[in-house]
């Protein structure tokens, strides 16, 4: 059986499972559509949260980002997991106690202000739409490679599949589909990693193998990696090269952003009790950690494998020849990925060899001059392909490659569905029922939620075709916005007595400042060429636009406290609301009276 057929089988079988679950778990009421009837077991919810959370960026891009940068991109590992601590301690139990359907509903009620709710809805929609772009590009990449269609066609197929199960199943369908998707994606991610870790280090646990010994050289793996990448003029893998301020702020922005992402928060509305919300956050992180503890090993090992493939006789000997790339089966992956346009090489100096090195390094320029090289000849390497190409690079059996295909799609689709659900409930529950047509029937609300979902999918697909950067970078922007607008206002709603005016002013200040900062660096509405600054030379104190979310959050807190202090304190009924949110007793009743 050829690889294409195997891929098709794996992807087809996984899709059949998702569609089957979607049909079984159709949503009949708004409570089922928005919160899966609040009957989800904490472990099940943890698993669904993990799939919801681990996106195309986590699955496809993160290992690549770590592989080609090394230590400095640990921000993704700490940031995307550390946020769960904030979520578990500061938000999840209290929002579950509040017992409504959307994040904006809490903000609207707690700050007794339709304006606050509207601002929250706008923040939420901007965050989710930005985030969904990364998922759609990821779907395109995975389909493009495994079903041998171009990115655009892949993206359109993905959109149709998400449409099918998110529109009908709502939160209930999405939750149970996500459990299946989690299982597919974690197997797909860890199985090749275990194989590769065994090959390189003899240790079946990748996270331990990373700190183990490279069997081929007998040296510690990380030391070996540091050595060969520095010999080619690249930065030392384990060293800290970027600036510390951005590393700290970027990590913090990802943490706060994670805790402020509406599609993650709303998963905690689905468990039966407050105590379950606390446990469920822990279970979610267990399932997430299985991938996140593996990712740095995948990145380091892939970097080692790839570099050694280009320098099969060592970095000071002759590079790999064009002839070997074309004839040796170990290099078949290069031809496959070249067809997708995500990998490219060119024999610039016509010596029949492909030299892969850092041509910006002065030492390497010296060596290049001595050996007659005319620049790095691996001139196109899209980092997003690393996880997908990894099993081929390591020569793993073809069923593993089929599994990776299904896993990449599961990761992208499960997150896309969660985001689209957040967008559609914001539109139908907060905008339609909350503001425009308060007397809408439950049936009408369900219908409007489904229409909103369909429109959101269309918008996301269009944006996926015109994305602003690598999948993970696009996602990083969504985090900046969630960090600067949603997280601070939720936390103040629970832990402080900030009033309505403070909340609205804080949210607007945080959101607008962050959005402005991002647009100034990435271009207005991400249109290339309209930016006045770049992340290489940022506007303020060297803070990159991707690290700005934490600053936006601080501004949000500061403005909210200042405005709240100078305006009328919160009324007694809101004091009571805050007190009741802080105490678990009565959570069942709060849910039932809705």
């Amino acid at each position: 059986m050829d690889q294409f057929t195997i891929n098709l089988l794996f992807v087809g079988a996984s899709f059949a499972i998702y569609i089957g679950i979607a049909i079984w778990a159709r949503a009949g009421s708004t409570s089922e559509f928005y919160a899966a009837g609040r009957g989800v077991h904490p472990v099940t919810n943890g698993m669904a949260t993990a799939a919801d959370w681990m996106s195309a960026a986590s699955f496809l891009s993160m290992a690549g980002l770590i592989a080609f940068v090394g230590y400095d991109n640990s921000a993704y590992l700490m940031g995307w997991t550390g946020g769960y601590v904030l979520l578990a301690l500061l938000l999840a139990p209290y929002l579950r106690k509040f017992g409504k359907f959307t994040v904006s509903e809490f903000i609207g009620d707690r700050f007794y202000s339709p304006t606050a709710r509207l601002v929250a809805v706008i923040c939420l929609i901007i965050c989710s739409v930005t985030y969904v772009i990364g998922q759609m590009t990821g779907v395109g990449v995975a389909f493009g490679r495994f079903l041998e269609v171009d990115n655009t066609t892949g993206l359109l197929i993905g959109a149709v599949i998400v449409f099918a199960y998110a529109v009908f199943g709502g939160m209930k369908g999405v939750t149970y589909t996500q459990v299946a998707q989690y299982i597919v994606l974690i197997l797909a991610y860890t199985i090749p990693a275990i194989f590769i870790s065994l090959q390189l280090t003899g240790n079946p646990i990748p996270g331990l193998g990373l700190f183990g010994t490279d069997l081929a050289s007998g040296e510690p793996l990380l030391q070996k990696l540091d050595q060969i990448v520095t010999e080619l003029g690249f930065n030392q893998y384990t060293a800290h090269d970027g600036d510390t301020l951005n590393l700290v702020l970027f990590t913090l922005s990802l943490m706060i952003g994670t805790a402020g992402l509406p599609h993650v928060i709303m998963r905690f509305f689905t468990v039966p009790r407050v105590a379950d919300a606390r446990w469920s956050a822990g279970w979610a992180l267990v399932f997430i950690a299985l991938l996140y503890l593996t990712a740095p090993a995948v990145g380091a090992m892939a970097r080692l494998n790839i570099t050694q493939q280009f320098w099969p006789n060592g970095t000071d000997a002759q590079a790999v020849s064009l002839e070997q790339i074309e004839t040796d089966p170990a290099y078949d992956w290069m031809a496959t990925w070249q067809q997708t346009g995500m990998l490219g090489w060119e024999d610039l100096n016509g010596d029949g060899l492909i030299q892969y090195y850092n041509d910006a390094s002065p030492d390497m320029q010296e060596r290049a001059a001595a050996e007659g090289w005319e620049g790095n000849e691996l001139n196109n390497f899209n980092r997003d392909i690393l996880v997908l190409a990894n099993p081929e690079i390591a020569n793993l059996p073809s069923w593993v490659i089929g599994l990776i295909a299904a896993g990449g799609l599961a990761a992208a689709l499960s997150t896309a569905a969660g985001l689209l659900l957040a967008i559609s409930s914001a539109v139908s529950h907060d905008l339609m029922k909350g503001q425009l047509t308060p007397n809408i029937s439950e049936k009408g609300e369900l219908l409007s939620a489904r229409i909103a979902m369909a429109v959101a999918i269309a918008v996301a697909t269009w944006l996926g075709l015109n994305p602003p950067g690598f999948a993970a970078q696009t996602v990083a922007l969504a985090f900046g916005l969630a960090a600067s607008s949603i997280f601070p206002v939720l936390m103040m709603g629970i832990f402080t007595k900030v009033n309505n005016k403070g909340a609205v002013a804080g949210m607007l200040a945080g959101l607008l400042l962050t959005l402005l900062y991002i647009f100034l660096h990435k271009g207005w509405f991400f249109i290339p060429g309209t930016n006045s600054f770049t992340d290489a030379e940022p506007l303020l104190f060297g803070i990159k636009s991707t690290s700005f979310g934490a600053v936006g959050a601080l501004v949000n807190f500061a403005v909210a406290f200042a405005v709240s202090k100078t305006t009328t304190p919160i009324p007694a009924r809101i004091e009571d609301l805050v007190e009741s949110v802080r105490i678990p007793r009565g959570a069942g009743a709060a849910a039932a009276d809705h």
């Binding site: 590992l77 992180l285 802080r582």
Partner: protein
């Protein structure tokens, strides 16, 4: 009045919340220490401790912080669910 303790519910509520905030503060200090501390800012200080081809700070940044985060969340869930019962504010 809470049936278990017989204390006044308003001051009980305050004590419960104060205890919760105290647990949160301690947890967040550890959270920051392992990630921003050991993983980033304090890495040069502990770089003398070697862990398989790199140093302890690198291990915290890529593995250790995540393991500690897990421990914090489960500790918090266990501790708070216990505290809920002590103050008689657990769900029926």
């Amino acid at each position: 009045m809470s049936p278990e303790t017989g204390r006044d519910s308003a001051s009980d509520g305050k004590a419960y919340w104060a205890a919760n905030v105290r647990i949160i503060k301690i947890s967040l200090i550890i959270w920051a220490l392992v990630s921003f501390g050991f993983g980033i800012l304090l890495r040069p200080l502990i770089s003398g401790i070697q862990v398989g081809g790199s140093d302890l700070g690198f291990w915290f940044a890529q593995q250790g912080s995540i393991l500690v985060f897990l421990a914090i969340i489960f500790f918090y869930a266990w501790k708070m669910n216990k505290l809920d019962r002590e103050f008689g504010v657990e769900e029926e």
